[in-house]
């Protein structure tokens, strides 16, 4: 197990955004997180990534890939074992008003990658996503698809054990969507665990092997992707969700 939750809840003010969530993210997992708007997908991603603290229950950390991976954003760790390294990609990437190169350098620096290793990692990350030609352009001058690829390069460069993605293609045009999906797929094959929230059920079919369904902060289903789409005895809210969403894939 890389990261797990045990009966974790998250509260915002008076409202419980997540209720008693228990799940595990394992090495090699390709998890899709689906649910209606406001069901808590983003909150769950942030909780898993350690950006939020649970008000009840626990967040558990397993072992990371080992030495040299750099600092992760987890809380607490077993003594002597390195924590899992995580990275996150958002729907609209926040890029600093610097060049593509500088953005990657800052990301590597924040992740604790030693200075000697940074130039190589930077070049490799750019090559991985195909942005070498734009290395000195201001990051904000890139197109939407290019910016998202830069965000993926930024994540890839820190060699994360888990990559969290919050609706990464929702703002992109179809061709950019395809490019980004392809990259995500390849990252999964490279060995990264993926946890991705999405509204796009076609994307779920293409990229995921496991589906988590959130309904008003509760984890209503945790199934393999085939089971999710083909079983007839799904909880009623899941079935309804599938019926409502399917025509749009």
């Amino acid at each position: 197990m890389l990261i797990g939750l045990h009966q974790a809840s998250v509260r915002f003010g008076a409202q419980l955004a997540l209720r008693d969530i228990s799940l595990q993210v394992r090495r090699g997992d390709r998890i899709a997180l689906v649910g209606a708007n406001g069901s808590g997908k983003t909150t769950l991603l942030r909780l898993l990534n350690g950006l939020l603290a649970p008000c009840g229950g626990q967040r558990l950390l397993g072992a990371g890939a080992g030495a040299g991976a750099g600092a992760g954003s987890g809380q607490g760790s077993a003594a002597g074992v390195s924590r899992p390294v995580t990275a996150m990609v958002f729907q609209r990437p926040f890029l600093l008003q610097f060049s593509v190169r500088r953005n990657l350098q800052i990301a590597l620096w924040l992740a604790g990658v030693p200075a000697a290793d940074r130039p190589l990692r930077l070049d490799q990350a750019l090559a991985r996503v195909g942005l070498q030609a734009l290395v000195d352009r201001p990051a904000r001058a890139l197109s939407g698809g290019q910016q998202q690829r830069l965000a993926l390069a930024r994540a890839w460069a820190v060699r994360p054990d888990i990559l969290f993605l919050d609706e990464p293609t929702a703002s992109l045009d179809p061709s950019a969507k395809r490019e980004v999906e392809t990259l995500i797929d390849e990252f999964g094959h490279d060995g990264m665990a993926l946890v991705m929230s999405t509204h796009n059920l076609g994307q779920v079919k293409r990229l995921a092997d496991r589906v988590l369904y959130l309904d008003a902060g509760r984890l209503a289903a945790d199934l393999g992707v085939d089971d999710f789409f083909n079983r007839t005895d799904l909880p009623p809210e899941v079935a309804q969700f599938l019926k409502g969403e399917l025509p749009w894939t």
């Binding site: 954003s73 990437p93 926040f94 600093l96 201001p138 001058a141 969290f164």
Partner: protein, 242 residues
Amino acid sequence: MNAFSQSFSLALQLITQADTTLWQIVGLSLQVSATACAVGAGLGLLLGAWLAVARFPGHAAVVGLLNTLLALPSVVVGLVVYLLLSRSGPLGAWGILFTPTAMVIAQSILVVPLIAALSRQLVADALREGGDELAAMGAGRLLSAVLLLAHERRAVLTVLLTAFGRAVAEVGAVMVVGGNIDGVTRVMTTAIALETSKGDLPLALALGGVLLGVVALINLALGLTQRRAIAGAGLQAGPTKC
């Protein structure tokens, strides 16, 4: 209208004559205010960044106090610093009353709330946009705030220019702690005040014009370097051949 036309030609005369006293006074004005802004930037930007991310009981009160200090009259700041630096005051042993150093201290106190209040808002707004991503990349709150200051450097520059304007244009503080000593602590604004009180209104206006002209040149230079940076980065479509 006579005073205005007189002062305009007087201003031109002053500039072309390159009177050494005048340029010494202009130089001192710029030095004192620029140094005060540098000090103010160091303290104010950090304070603003910290306030944007800090959470503690009474945070709202501190922000309210900071915003209130924006209305500090410059002469009040001058008086407080004077009483502190006076030989009969707690810091009298420093012996820096009636020196440019005292003027820098007074003007720094004047601009720190300005820089802190504006940069706090700047950073808070930028944090709403990118705080999550920076945190996900491993940046602590304060480091995120500092990174965002670098990210919003154009807005920060405007804040610093505002602070510089406040400093170079004020007369109350530098008059009280500097004493308007000829050749030592006389700056443009105190010289203008002196000429006004001597009844030489055209000269006072002319000096005011010279001061504005110098600051305009500085802003022009800054604007040109910014324009070159933006053009070099290829962010603007200009009228070029297809």
